[in-house]
């Protein structure tokens, strides 16, 4: 029977991997030795329990617990109305789509508008797109709405890909990763893990500023 390499390993034990790394990097000298030491510190801290676990959640955005996506219209601001306008127009135009070329034209207009709106609203705030949504003047309801509309836009892409094939509609293929990035950013900043991370960071800041 063929041996199957298992990714999940019972032998993947923190103490063991730390020892292995340490012995592997021990042979280095000079500057390399200093860097090796930092690498092993990073490993040791990474496997440590406690606060690091909070940090783990940061990268695991897809697993982050997201609050209810449905937004309450009463708490929306003008900052997010673009998301609804664009998606509603795209939905309305879907009935006219007969070919892959039509679909490409639709996404070339509405999906690109959607992505550009998001990017444009971010570019004066920071070069880092994934950065504090509240600084853009969005309420919590706004971000829920944009997430909801992003999901609906993704639904349009799914429908188009299902009809014509993803490889036939270039804007679907090219735009989908950017759309997913928007959703990941919002999901992350709406999550409990993000809230806890912010609290930890605030506490850390206060501790450091006391000194």
């Amino acid at each position: 029977m063929e041996k199957v390499d298992s990714v999940e390993s019972d032998e993947f034990k923190p103490e063991q991997i730390l020892t292995e790394e340490k012995s592997l990097l021990e042979r280095f000298t000079g500057k390399a030795k200093k860097i090796a030491r930092v690498m092993t510190i990073v490993s040791a801290l990474s496997v440590a329990p406690g606060m690091v676990q909070e940090v783990y959640a940061q990268e695991n955005k897809s697993g982050a617990k997201v609050e209810q996506v449905q937004s309450n219209p009463e708490n929306l601001t003008e900052a997010s109305t673009w998301a609804s306008e664009i998606v509603e127009k795209a939905k309305a135009d879907m009935s006219e789509i007969k070919t892959a070329k039509d679909a490409d034209a639709l996404l070339g207009d509405y999906l690109v508008q959607f992505l550009n709106k998001w990017r444009f609203l971010n570019k004066n705030i920071s070069k880092d797109v994934n950065k504090n949504l509240d600084k853009r003047g969005y309420t919590k309801e706004d971000t829920k709405l944009i997430l909801q509309r992003s999901q609906e836009m993704e639904g349009i892409l799914d429908e188009i890909d299902g009809k014509f094939g993803a490889d036939k509609v270039s804007y679907s293929r090219l735009g989908r990763p950017f759309l997913k990035d928007i959703m990941k950013d919002i999901e992350w900043e709406s999550s409990y893990a993000y809230k806890k991370q912010q609290e930890n960071f605030k506490r850390l800041d206060e501790q450091l500023n006391k000194k």
């Binding site: 390499d5 990714v7 999940e8 390993s9 032998e11 993947f12 923190p14 991997i17 292995e20 790394e21 592997l24 990097l25 280095f28 000298t29 000079g30 500057k31 390399a32 200093k34 860097i35 090796a36 030491r37 930092v38 690498m39 510190i41 990073v42 490993s43 801290l45 990474s46 496997v47 440590a48 406690g50 606060m51 690091v52 909070e54 940090v55 783990y56 940061q58 990268e59 695991n60 920071s126 880092d128 994934n130 950065k131 504090n132 992350w188 991370q197 930890n200 960071f201 850390l204 501790q207 450091l208 000194k211």
Partner: protein, 89 residues
């Protein structure tokens, strides 16, 4: 006390990595004893380009640990060796 952490935090906040990555890295080092962070401060202050490299190293390790992926961990160690050999060489 916590002198190294404070200095490391300032260096990380100036680094060309995302704000979330900055925070993640600072919180990681906040778990260490301050005296253990001397080598981290020495490296980051002498050559800030290592902040980004160590950040990538940390993220890769997190992914590997989160999924208990020993193969990925081996690849990280190989990459570390390669980086360090480049410096020693």
């Amino acid at each position: 006390m916590d002198n190294n952490l404070k200095k490391i935090k300032e260096l990380i906040e100036q680094a060309e990595i995302s704000e979330n990555d900055q925070k993640g890295l600072i919180l990681l080092f906040a778990n260490a004893h301050d005296e253990d962070l001397q080598s981290v401060f020495d490296l980051f202050s002498a050559d800030p380009s290592w902040i980004s490299k160590i950040n990538n190293n940390y993220k890769a390790k997190k992914d590997s640990l989160n999924t208990a992926n020993s193969e990925a961990w081996k690849r990280i160690l190989e990459e570390e060796e390669k980086q360090l050999e480049g410096i020693n060489g």
